[in-house]
């Protein structure tokens, strides 16, 4: 019955582990349980995880789309039964890492009701030559390769020209697994119909169905079905030899074509589909049924081994209970040669899950300890990819990844034949997987480093260009000044009109202010007008160094604070550091006031530059904003000082210090903007007041945590706030609480001010909470 006239082209190597198939292939496919809850992972294919399109609480029908494909490599995910979405969160998934990924948890309502379905007219689409419509439909139906690789099927159906050979993979070479076997026996008609569809879509000249000779019933059923199908297809019986079910090995067996790694089999005129995938394609196109279930073999140490037509997302626990339960401690997901042990049995079934094996102690004894490799070469004899596994092992083990790649590490299909025959019991595949993931990681790192380099270089280029443009503008502006002809100046510069002139003037003013302040602060950095000399500095300018230093110090301070020893010590150290930081901040603030106007100027010009797509939008920056920033800086400084003071000396003298701290900053900020309109001034002052209030409040809070004399401190804080507010000349003297400040600000820009205040308060609160938690921890 199993005679085949076709010539078989054996592949190199291969092993023959005990088949163990008759454990589970004797009973027909059972309808799986309807679990109370299903956990459906959103990543059910290679490529991106599908994008969730439902919300928690939604009621969904069976077969309803719950996640749409995100990109071409991704496919849709559907609700396997009707019910309510109870959670969309990260849960452990069936993956060797045991990591959590996004899953939709569906609470079944027990009715299992389909949504309304419309059959897709694939025949019509095919006649119109609209293969893309069919492929898109399959993507939307969530069809992926169910042999284990979960490669989206629609990507394999896009043929440009006629395909030489279509291969249907019914080899099922892994021991224990019988789901394809049962599927072929029981649903041969549907499978053959599915093959017919795929054959038409790919325009295949020849159809070969590869089945191992240990499945005579399946071969018989398929041949029977093919006798009436109306197209030529041949069931080719191949010898039982693992891994004949590997796509590359099966293609070699049937066509004598070897598909190298990195080459698509279509380039050699061959395309290979798994039996279960064919069935899914059939169900999707003929019955409008998305992939919401699959046949899974439950075998090994379970009471009732067999095959189950289970819903995707069914927790493995439910499946095991359905199979009569098991006392095994570990479970293999997939076959014994390539599957992995499940991190937990609570995970949901995925589209790749063809088998769950309960590892009973008799069939899966603990592995013998690894002995050294004696280079016996058994692995090379067994390797179906004709690699030299012992050399790959050697290179991977010594982390010599370059050499491993040179020895074709990536041709390894991780079939496990080498580890199976190793007399030294070396877990060879583990080394290859390790080496592969290290190489991938290194490639990712390299790619991101390259991107970062490009982006950094572009940023530098952009900054240089802006500086150069600015310098040119300033030069144009400055040249005619002695002549005191403003109009001529704008004409010379080619600037369009008076408003540009106006802006330029403003900038100049800002520059002057910045320069003045810088001088005041004793900053030695070159004035901004001299920076734009078009050369990338090879050593950090003082300004940049200061910035970086400030950044580092800040991080260091945070870290130090976190690991501080006692409140007193920490306070002392913080005080010192904060003083430094504050100084740096003040300098930075001063500088920034100048820098911001520069940016404004530059961005105005960059609007004319079409290539400036990467430039962060800054055109909205204006005086108001500058004021706000200054205010924010001042507030931050104040906040910090307050914090320090509160922490350092719980004495009542602290608030006095605080009162001094914000004032200079605030006043410099005020001084810095003499040219501003009255309205702006007022607004800025208000914001400042609000900030200060927030800072004060925070300091008070912190003071309360650290010192017993919290109340007086808080009291004097409010005084400070009042003072600041009064000095600004806008707020009523009663501004002792943020609420009280609010009405004062309301007159001009209540919304904005409130927002800022809220932000400040939130930040302060968070910090205080953190501080408190730490203090508690240390206490």
């Amino acid at each position: 019955m199993l005679e085949t006239t076709r010539e078989i082209f054996p592949f190199h190597g291969g092993v023959h582990p005990p088949e163990m198939k008759d454990l589970s292939n004797r009973s027909p496919i059972a309808r799986g349980p309807l679990p109370a809850q299903l956990v459906i992972p959103l990543q059910q294919s290679i490529g991106n995880p599908a994008k969730c399109v439902v919300n928690v609480g939604d009621i969904v029908g069976k077969g309803q789309l719950i996640a749409a494909p995100d990109g071409n490599l991704s496919v849709a995910v559907h609700a396997p039964t009707s019910g309510r979405i109870v959670a969309i969160d990260a849960r452990q998934v069936a993956h060797p890492s045991g990591l959590a990924e996004w899953c939709v948890t569906l609470e079944s309502d027990g009715r299992d009701e389909w949504i309304a379905r419309d059959k897709f007219d694939w025949r019509g689409a095919l006649e119109r030559g609209d293969g893309k419509a069919i492929r898109d439909y399959l993507q939307l139906m969530g069809v992926v390769g169910q042999g284990g690789a979960v490669f989206p099927s629609h990507l394999k159906l896009g043929g440009r020209e006629a395909l030489q050979t279509l291969i249907i993979n019914g080899a099922e070479c892994e021991p224990y697994i019988t789901c394809d076997d049962r599927l072929m026996r029981e649903r041969a008609i549907e499978i053959v119909a599915g093959i017919g569809i795929v054959r038409k879509m790919l325009n295949a000249r020849e159809v070969l169905i590869g089945v191992e000779d240990n499945k005579p019933e399946a071969v018989h059923a398929l041949r029977e079905a093919l006798a009436h199908c109306g197209f030529a297809a041949e069931v080719v019986v191949v010898p039982t030899l693992y891994p004949s079910g590997g796509a590359k090995q099966l293609i070699k067996l049937l066509t004598n074509k070897e598909v190298p790694s990195g080459v698509r089999s279509t380039d050699l005129g061959v395309q290979c589909f798994n039996i279960a995938t064919i069935y899914s394609i059939y169900a999707a196109l003929e019955q409008a049924e998305p992939v919401i279930s699959r046949i899974v073999t439950l075998t090994g140490g379970v009471a009732k081994p067999g095959n189950v037509d289970a819903l995707i997302g069914t927790p493995i626990d439910d499946l095991l209970a359905f199979a009569g339960g098991s006392s095994a401690r570990e479970y293999i997901y997939g076959g014994p040669m390539m599957g992995f042990t499940l991190p937990s049995t609570a995970v949901g079934l995925t589209k790749a899950g063809n088998c769950v094996i309960a590892m009973d102690a008799a069939s899966f004894p603990p592995k013998a300890p690894e002995m050294p490799c004696i280079r016996c070469g058994e692995c090379a004899v067994a390797c179906p990819q004709e690699l030299q596994p012992m050399d790959l092992y050697w290179f991977s083990r010594s982390k010599n990844f370059g050499k491993a790649q040179e020895w074709n590490l990536f041709d390894c299909i991780e079939c496990g034949a080498c580890a199976y025959v190793c007399p030294s019991s070396i877990q060879l595949v583990d080394y290859y997987r390790f080496a592969k993931s290290e190489i991938w990681e290194a490639e990712r790192a390299k790619k991101s480093a390259d991107t970062a380099r490009q982006r950094h270089e572009f940023k530098q280029f952009r900054e240089e260009r802006e500086k150069a443009e600015k310098a040119a503008r300033l030069a144009a502006k400055a040249a005619p000044k002695p002549a005191e002809t403003a109009a001529a100046a704008s004409a010379d510069a080619g600037a369009p009109a008076a408003d540009a002139d106006d802006k330029a003037a403003k900038i100049k003013a800002a520059m002057a202010r910045a320069a003045a302040k810088k001088a005041e602060a004793g900053d030695l950095a070159a004035p901004p007008t001299q920076v734009g000399n078009g050369k990338v500095p090879h050593v950090l300018s003082d300004e940049q160094a200061a910035k970086i230093r400030a950044s580092m110090e800040k991080r260091a301070a945070e870290k130090a604070a976190q690991e501080a020893l006692s409140p007193e010590e920490r306070a002392a150290r913080d005080a010192e550091r904060a003083a430094k930081i504050e100084a740096a901040k003040a300098a930075a603030a001063a500088k920034k006031a100048g820098a911001d106007t520069l940016v404004e100027h530059a961005s105005a010009s960059s609007e004319q530059d079409a290539s400036a797509a990467d430039t962060p939008a800054k055109s909205a920056l204006d005086e108001e904003k500058a004021a706000k920033i200054r205010a924010a800086m001042a507030a931050a400084a104040a906040k910090k000082a307050a914090k320090e003071a509160g922490a350092a000396s719980p004495a009542a003298a602290a608030p006095d210090k605080d009162a001094v701290a914000p004032s200079p900053a605030a006043s410099t900020a005020t001084e810095a903007a003499p040219a501003k309109a009255a309205l702006d001034d007022e607004k800025a002052a208000k914001i400042r007041a609000a900030m200060a209030a927030a800072a004060a409040r925070k300091a008070a809070k912190e003071g309360g945590e650290v010192a017993p004399v919290a109340e007086p401190a808080a009291a004097s804080m409010t005084e400070v706030v009042a003072e600041v507010a009064a000095a600004a000349g806008t707020a009523p003297a009663a501004a002792s609480t943020p609420e009280a400040v609010a009405p004062a600000a309301a007159g001009i820009d209540p919304d904005k001010a409130a927002k800022i205040r809220a932000a400040m308060a939130a930040a302060a609160a968070k910090k205080a909470a953190k501080q408190a938690a730490q203090d508690e921890g240390q206490a």
């Binding site: 990591l99 950094h456 530098q460 500095p537 970086i548 800054k618 920056l621 931050a636």
Partner: protein, 186 residues
């Protein structure tokens, strides 16, 4: 006499061969990557400036000119120092801070949205333009572009930027080095 002959033969031979070699060296000259680019390729491109230079390229230039040590790059980790040492034929030098800069998990900056005031300061600080936003509008970090250099922390007036380590997911997860229990742990 034969002594002189031998000497003459040798001298002529040396001249001829030298000429051939010299010609070949010019004719078949291989344009190699300049050293700076090779060094730059090893550096992690965080552009964080922790080495004391304004970015990775300047540091690479400094190393190439032997103006800087190879152990100034904490983001590159000890692995990076090793690679630099290999490339330059130098000895491995550990970090001079006694291991405080030892390898750190890849991390990115995250802006707390409820706190950001839209000041654009972080945007200007970012060496790789990985922060987007406009004045008075919420800023956000493009995580895929962020190098975790921490340069945006200092300028933020409201301390709304956190550096969080990037956890692994099933796509970036790595198989661990297999544990060999051959040798007894002494």
């Amino acid at each position: 006499m034969s002594f002189l002959l031998a000497l003459a033969v040798m001298a002529i031979l040396a001249l001829v061969l030298g000429a051939i070699l010299g010609f070949a060296a010019i004719k078949y000259k291989v344009d190699e990557d300049p050293l700076v680019d090779k060094i730059d390729a090893i550096l992690p491109q965080t552009q964080c400036g922790q080495c004391g230079f304004p970015g990775c390229k300047p540091y690479a230039t400094a190393i190439a000119n032997e103006e800087a040590e190879i152990n100034k790059c904490p983001p590159g980790g000890e692995d990076g120092i090793r690679k630099l040492a290999d490339l330059l034929g130098k000895d491995f030098v550990p970090f001079d801070d006694g291991g405080a800069s030892a390898e750190k998990a890849r991390s990115v900056a995250i802006i707390r949205e409820d706190t950001c005031i839209g000041c654009t300061l972080c945007i200007q600080a970012c060496p790789v333009d990985a922060i987007v936003g406009a004045a008075k509008h919420l800023h956000t970090v493009i995580e895929s572009e962020c190098t975790g250099c921490e340069l945006c922390i200092a300028p933020c007036p409201v301390d709304c930027i956190d550096i969080v380590p990037v956890g692994e997911n099933v796509n970036t997860w790595k198989w661990r080095y297999p544990i060999i229990q051959l040798k007894k742990v002494a």
